[in-house]
């Protein structure tokens, strides 16, 4: 296990690389879902207020 975490001495490079990539993946998922939720909310709000022009 320690060997795995140590990555043959390259740990300082390998793990941050993975961290950054998965952070980007996570952010993308978060942003996409947030964009959809926001769009749904604002569309619903418009419908409730009687579909007034923007």
């Amino acid at each position: 296990m320690r060997e795995f975490l140590d990555m043959g001495g390259y740990a300082a490079f390998v793990w941050p690389a993975y961290a950054v990539t998965f952070a980007v993946i996570g952010l993308n998922i978060f942003w996409a879902r947030r964009a959809l939720a926001h769009a749904r909310r604002s569309a619903l709000r418009r419908l409730e207020s009687g579909n007034a022009p923007p």
Binding site: A35, A39, A43
Partner: protein, 245 residues
């Protein structure tokens, strides 16, 4: 050839419903492929005889770089479709691609730089791949900047679509000139991806990661596309039904 599927995709309510149904079909395989690729790449694959365990960065760098280029191409194709056939949904798809592609370009640059330090001894090297990635980032930023700068949605769509098409034509030219420039100046150890000579145990996880990331892109695109369609079609009558579903 029957092109009804193409024209049906041009209808926002149809594509919205389709996107909703298809998303899990890309999201779950993406998760599985990425997890399997991680397992294969981090645990199962043997260390490289030259780079030791440091080569494992390839399992995040290569897919990120692949994403950055593939997403740009997809964006340009969607933009071209929107421009030629005047299909709003295509423009919405192009707009959805941009932030995804830009963020993975950043990931490719950071992981490439982190790979460079142990391999070349420096965090940055003006090698063709990294330099081209940097230029690609600017192309994305330019696209998003142009979209943001034009208020009218239709004009923003068409202007940025033209920019995307011009950009995609330029990408091979830029890549060629950067490669040529780099070869002149005898760059030291160029980061080799050693594709054909990779052992199967190293290659298979890489392919799984590439596929997984691609599937992830599809899922992300579908979610963002729904958001775009909702925002653009706010005033349409089909929205009520779609939202209550």
């Amino acid at each position: 050839m029957n092109f009804t599927w193409f024209h049906r995709l041009g209808s926002p309510p149809y594509t919205y419903a389709l996107a909703r149904r298809l998303t899990p079909w890309f999201a779950w395989p993406a998760a599985l492929l990425i997890l399997a690729g991680l397992w294969g790449g981090l645990v199962l694959a043997p260390p490289d005889y030259q780079q030791g365990d440091g080569f494992r960065i390839i399992y995040v760098h290569a897919p990120s770089a692949w994403m950055s280029l593939m997403v740009y191409t997809s964006m340009a194709v969607a933009a071209a479709v929107g421009l030629i056939w005047r299909i709003k949904v295509a423009h919405a798809a192009a707009a959805s691609c941009a932030p995804i592609g830009a963020s993975f370009t950043v990931a490719a640059l950071v992981t490439g730089s982190l790979w460079g330090q142990p391999m070349w001894g420096t965090y940055w090297q003006w090698d063709p791949r990294l330099t081209s990635e940097l230029v690609l980032l600017f192309l994305y930023l330019g696209y998003m900047g142009l979209r943001a700068g034009i208020e009218d949605t239709q004009r923003a769509d068409r202007a940025s679509a033209l920019l995307a098409v011009v950009g995609v034509v330029n990408v091979p030219i830029i890549h060629y000139s950067v490669t040529w420039w780099n070869s002149l100046h005898q760059a030291p150890s160029v980061m080799r991806l050693a594709k054909p000579t990779m052992a199967a145990s190293m290659l298979v996880p890489l392919l799984m990661m590439l596929l997984g990331f691609t599937s992830l892109f599809a899922a992300l695109l579908l979610v963002r596309l729904r958001a775009e369609i909702l925002t653009r079609e706010r005033t349409s009558s089909w929205i009520r039904e779609a939202l209550s579903a």
